[in-house]
Subunit: 324 residues, 2 copies
């Protein structure tokens, strides 16, 4: 996967929101230093017109800063904003997706036939958040090609951002999704004022159910993945902060009398919580296979979300035998 | 291990502080319900005279409440306080130790020759806290005798307190000890105001080092133990609350300029933090084996505690290769 022209890898970032801008900045600082990468990081910008009348992409290229989504932070002169998707990716052999997840499919369709042969892509859409210049970490899941995985890890690693690779795509993805359901449970515990001991117990049981559920769905999933940052660390972050936790806390404080729809409208301006929809999807899988009793926490979260059980039920189930 | 006289197991609790009283209350509520246990729970009280002139043991037996260490909470009429150690244990075949750890050795010496044959004992001294009537959980480590372990689990389990058993005494013990070192690291992160993301990363790396260190010391230690409540859940609890975390936070806020000795004197009335002394003991083991580089977090905590490194170093180390 060498770039034929210069022998150096070229990186393009698809997305320029807050998180896309943070990623571009981090990548650009690394590509400037690492000899195996071309300095320039091309960032596809979903074009918009700023209140000043200026185009967002032009503003970024002039100020080297995304004044709308990451104001006050220099991206690096080697980040080039490009409002034309096709042009943004045409020379790249490493693509970084950082868009809202509902746009991925549409973007991918537009990319068909426009990419270089052998191009690789990574998605940052779920499973991690980078705190700017604060120590944090992430996990890259890969299948078979460890060399490519290590190249991606090298591209992202900084002294304050540790990146590890695990040969377990499904495990990494499921961690990123299921943790949001556990965060809902943690939010219920917060709303019931049950304290850290109870919350830690719920998080631990949640982690165990995440692991057991993932392994039932994909026997290839590895225990070790849950010790990676995508597992226990992201779970902790999401259960301490995060909007799934926050809205679920409000839900429990209201004794379940105000629906998630209502609270989402009020607290998230109508955006929907991922944990609530994931809980429903998981519940469908559990029901289909007759597995509800094996996953009391995951099941209970959904039943509370839809008003079938009160929020206090989150600490009232018995553990299934053999599940400890 | 049947009690010859009645065929029922008899429980004695060694200790009557806050935690000993909570344990006695929980056990008494279970022994009253479970047919395989004698109702009475005998609680050895380190006798003291109350300001009223009354003896603590007499007060407990009269009011069924430990007015000094657990005021306002009924222990149950089947909890019998006994200030005489020998008399408290003489009929028991299940002993529950809940004293400060420095008294255990002296107590055990006094018990030699005074116990029934086949008596079993459990220590609650490290590794868990029971929140009164709030949902929480605990892990019992055992070696070989699963039947005995399950009997203990039955004795402790309530709808709000889940108890699991694992055949890994060393793993459970080391979790209980090493988590305090990680809590010191988490406290440093809090004191540096680095946020939940960083804190979660540090907790995750701490859990990984706990596991790797335990397995190097005792190859019998199992990965799974770290998914039990004694592992990830107790680690979370200790890193969110707990005095190791709290004093370490103060240490970092003062930029390491006030020593732990000084802060312990001020914040803990001279009691010492377990995490600080455990960090030193762990460091001695690491130095002896030349393992420091394999355990950057555990090593760094000690070096910060003794003033050799500034608190900010907690997020500045590189991970050892192959440790991710």
């Amino acid at each position: 996967m060498e770039n034929g022209h210069t022998g150096k890898h070229r990186v393009a970032v698809i997305g320029s929101g807050n998180w896309g801008s943070v990623a571009s900045r981090l990548l650009a600082s690394n590509t400037a230093k690492l000899p195996s990468f071309h300095d320039e990081v091309r960032m596809w910008v979903f074009e918009e017109t700023l209140p000043t009348g200026e185009k967002l992409s032009e503003s970024i290229n002039q100020a080297h800063e995304n004044c709308k989504y990451l104001p006050g932070i220099k991206l690096g002169t080697n980040v080039i904003a490009d409002p034309d998707l096709e042009s943004a990716v045409k020379d790249a052999d490493m693509l970084v997706f950082v868009t809202p997840h509902q746009f991925v499919e549409g973007i991918c369709k537009k990319l068909v036939g426009k990419l270089r042969p052998g191009v690789e892509a990574i998605s940052l859409i779920k499973g991690m958040e980078i705190a700017v210049e604060k120590f944090s970490e992430a996990t890259i899941g890969y299948r078979e090609d460890k060399e490519a995985a290590n190249r991606w890890a090298k591209l992202f690693t900084t002294p304050y951002f540790l990146v590890s690779v695990v040969e377990d795509i499904e495990g990494v993805e499921l961690c990123g999704t299921l943790k949001n359901v556990v965060a809902i449970a943690a939010g219920f515990v917060d709303g019931l004022d049950m304290g850290n001991n109870t919350k830690a117990a719920i998080m631990r049981i949640g982690l165990r159910e995440m692991r057991a559920f993932s392994k039932l769905l994909f026997p290839s999933v590895r225990d070790n993945t849950f010790f990676e940052s995508c597992g226990v660390a992201d779970l902790i972050t999401t259960c301490l902060g995060g909007r799934n936790r926050r809205v679920a806390e409000a839900f429990a404080r209201n004794g379940g009398k105000r629906s998630f729809d209502e609270l989402e409208a009020e607290m998230l301006h109508g955006q929907k919580l991922q944990g609530v929809s994931t809980a429903r999807e998981v519940y469908e899988v559990l029901t289909y296979h007759g597995w509800q009793e094996l996953f009391p926490l995951l099941s209970t979260v959904h039943e509370i979300c839809i008003g079938q059980l009160p929020p206090t039920s989150i600490v009232e189930y018995r553990l299934a035998e053999g599940q400890s």
